[in-house]
């Protein structure tokens, strides 16, 4: 790879522990004005790149949910002069993995390849984002795969419970509509829709870039222009309105003849930028965080064996947050699990976490954070999330203090304000016995 002339490198921030282990995030700006965040790591001869385009499935037209997802399923199915098989063959020859996925608020692209192949792999990325083919053959094949996958999900208990829950929690908002669409909506999407999506949404002003691995800022800068310079300057305006999560309780039952009832539950939450974010994060870790030590896990799993897994946590979306959790319990006892979750929700609302619980949550959430950053791709993903959430280049050096600065009084205040056991919505899929007060719905409805 040729060395490009020096260019603007704006910020340098040291991170994490002893100098031997520190890594720095550099902000790299290309001659053409495209910005990326970069962590150089020359341990292995590989480079990972994560892209995030702000604006996800929530931006889909109301009559065509699933457009973003369908388009992203097709971006590696032929582009430029290459048909689908040739495009994938070229990726394989470059030993590159290229993954495309869609969230409510973000379009995700990730690439990992050998550093020696990074330039040629970026040529494929460029082609995929600017000149995807959408051949009739590829569109028909991927549509068939997608419809089959949606039909399968319509029979899968957790997918049903999750879809019903979002529909109840976010009435009248795109968040309440399945992001992958329905078999019917996917059938309506045309090649013109796909092309319009690429032109309207894959633009420079909504693009966030994170790069990690065996590459320097000088090498990266010209590649940014070559790869992304031809994208439109501006994305089509977003029409997504602020969400108003529902604040009244519900217990929905979709009957399915299976031995274990699958439950999704939750209530309104907060956004990532909320000033109480860290206190809420700690409170929810104590109540329903991962592992076997949360209050929900102790009551539902450890003491009573009611479930293999029970959890609840914050889910911050761009236009409104929720708290969501899940549990699965044999049909005869699922009512008991639901009662316990309500009771623990109420106890946490009324009393908050105690000092020992809060201290344990702090050591866990500060101590475990680096464990999730063990691969180049995961660090690249973090770089995009930090940009999306405006956390700043120095966020990682401030994160521990932000968590440790939450007092027991803060946590109690936020628990009382945030948690509402009387607003919990439960959606149950299965054949529960003795579940009182449930409103029956069709598994395929909603």
């Amino acid at each position: 790879m040729r060395i490009a002339p020096a260019l603007a490198v704006i910020g340098l921030v040291a991170l994490f522990g002893a100098p031997a282990h520190a890594f720095e995030i550099k902000q790299v700006t290309s001659p053409g004005g495209i910005t990326a965040w970069l962590v150089e790591d020359h341990t292995l001869p590989i480079v990972s790149m994560q892209l995030g385009f702000i604006g996800g499935s929530a931006n889909d037209p109301p009559d065509k949910p699933g457009l973003a997802n369908f388009t992203f399923d097709l971006l590696d199915e032929g582009a430029g002069a290459l048909d689908a098989t040739a495009f994938k063959g070229r990726l394989e020859d470059l030993a590159a993995s290229y993954d495309l996925s869609v969230d409510n608020d973000l379009l995700n692209v990730s690439l990992r390849t050998l550093s020696a192949n990074f330039g040629p792999a970026l040529d494929l990325v460029h082609s995929s984002l600017t000149e995807p083919t959408f051949s009739d053959q590829a569109v028909a094949r991927v549509r068939g795969q997608l419809v089959a996958s949606l039909e399968r999900a319509a029979h899968e208990p957790h997918s049903i419970a999750n879809r019903l829950w979002w529909n109840q929690e976010m009435p009248g908002h795109p968040y309440g509509v399945p992001g992958r669409g329905t078999p019917g909506s996917v059938a309506r999407i045309t090649s013109d829709d796909l092309r319009g999506f690429v032109r309207g949404r894959l633009a420079k002003d909504v693009l966030l870039i994170g790069v990690v691995g065996d590459i320097t800022a000088q090498e990266l800068a010209p590649l940014l222009d070559k790869t992304f310079g031809a994208l439109p300057a501006h994305a089509a305006p977003s029409a997504v309105i602020e969400a108003a999560p529902r604040v009244t309780p519900e217990l929905l039952l979709a009957t399915l003849p299976i031995p274990q009832s699958v439950v999704v539950f939750g209530q309104p939450g907060i956004k990532r930028a909320d000033p109480d974010w860290y206190a809420a994060y700690l409170v929810m870790h104590v109540l329903g965080g991962g592992g076997l030590t949360s209050r929900l896990s102790l009551e539902v799993r450890e003491k009573r064996g009611l479930a293999y897994n029970v959890y609840a946590g914050l889910e911050p979306l761009l236009h409104g947050g929720v708290i969501q959790g899940g549990v699965a319990t044999e049909n005869a006892r699922v009512g008991e699990s639901i009662d316990l979750i309500r009771a623990e929700w109420r106890r946490m609302r009324d009393q908050g976490p105690n000092a020992a619980e809060l201290a344990a949550a702090k050591t866990y959430l500060t101590g475990s954070f680096p464990l999730g950053l063990d691969s180049t791709l995961r660090v690249a993903e973090l770089l995009v999330i930090m940009q999306r959430d405006h956390l700043g280049l120095d966020y990682l050096s401030r994160r521990n203090a932000l968590i440790n600065g939450v007092s027991v009084a803060d946590a109690r205040r936020v628990a009382r304000k945030l948690l509402d056991p009387d607003a919990l919505i439960f959606t149950v899929v299965g054949a529960p016995e003795n579940l009182k007060g449930a409103r029956a719905v069709e598994p395929t409805g909603g």
Partner: protein, 446 residues
Amino acid sequence: MTGRIAAILVALACMTIGAGAAPAATFAADSFTLPNGLQVAVIPNHRAPIVSQMVWYKVGGADEPRGVSGIAHFLEHLMFRGTKNVAPGEFSRIVADNGGHENAFTTHDETAFYQDVAADRLETVMRLEADRMANLDIKDETLLPERQVIIEERHMRVDNNPMGLFRQALDAALYLNHPYRIPVIGWPQEMSVLTSAEARDFYRTWYAPNNAVLVISGDVDPTRVKALAEKYFGPIPGHPVPKRARASEPPRVASETLTMKSPRVTEPSWLRAYLAPSYTSGAREQAYALQVLAEVLGGGDTSRLYKELVVDKKLALNAAAYYDPTSLDLASFGLYATVAKGVAVEDMQAAMVRLVGETLRDGVAPAEVARAEKRMQAESLYAQDSLDGLGESVGAALAAGRTVKDVQEWPERIGAVTVDQVNAALRAVVRDDKSVTGILLPEPTS
């Protein structure tokens, strides 16, 4: 889908991939055995100040006495429920308080436990792991809720999922006599009556330093690891462990087709499985060629099966081949497809059989083999781009009586596989007259 997922890594002398050459990437590992028989491997990796500890016991579901299926996995769960020195739940609480992640898993051949923690917390988790190797305290009051937990785990993974149930039926058909026919999670009627005496007996019989492997990977100094291992694991006395005398497979003389219908299945699936050698059983020299074969036949969207059945003939929505060489006894090689809408299963099967027949007759092409091998070698480099990838490969190899060198030389051995070896392995293993075919069909609801 192929064995490369499980069997990974490293010491790439100097490999050339696609457009560019990758510099040498090596991984070093120290291994030694303590006087009490505990095998130890240390894999230093200084990219981040974190460490992973794994303990592998050379015992799994296939070593259970007849009639107590699931006891190996149940014991894995009970290992978290207290020892003479550590109260129930305390293990997980200490790991969490130290910001660590933990989990465990059980296969037919081994039971493994792991923790990922900050490098300076290694001593804490080593003390805990050594303690439960010798001092487990199984009580009825903790056993009973945990038995409910594994039953809920079975409901979640198997009973709620038609494909989960069907795969258990297929394994029971493929293995006529060997205990691989029994699911690791257990048969439900046997799981529900597992006792503390059975768990205690299994623990006393199989859990011993001379039947275990300790793997430490991450930001550590091997000398210090050795001192810690001697301090905590060294004092645990070894004891004789039975030979793993498993019932063996008779020659297979017939083919068989299993059919299952479910109203929760939306599109037909088709599988065909053949008994195959593994690294440690049968014609072992074919284990590498079979991995290359699985990649050529059905490893991704440019493979023979996908191109022919999905892209060209449009008879299937997906098609793949799978093979995992790491089982202690005979492995299975398999072909898989989901059938496209409006296509009869028989027509898809006929096309599959024709394609495999042509491959058997004409053999695979040199270019296909070269491309598959390059791609697999690159995957082995990517496996180093994580904390746990190497440790898992090394632990699995040592637990199966293989060596660190086997893992280090994997890329070379894959690269040395010839076209003739792939064709010979194909003709030896892919024998339809000795196969088991599974067809999972939708059942229309009236």
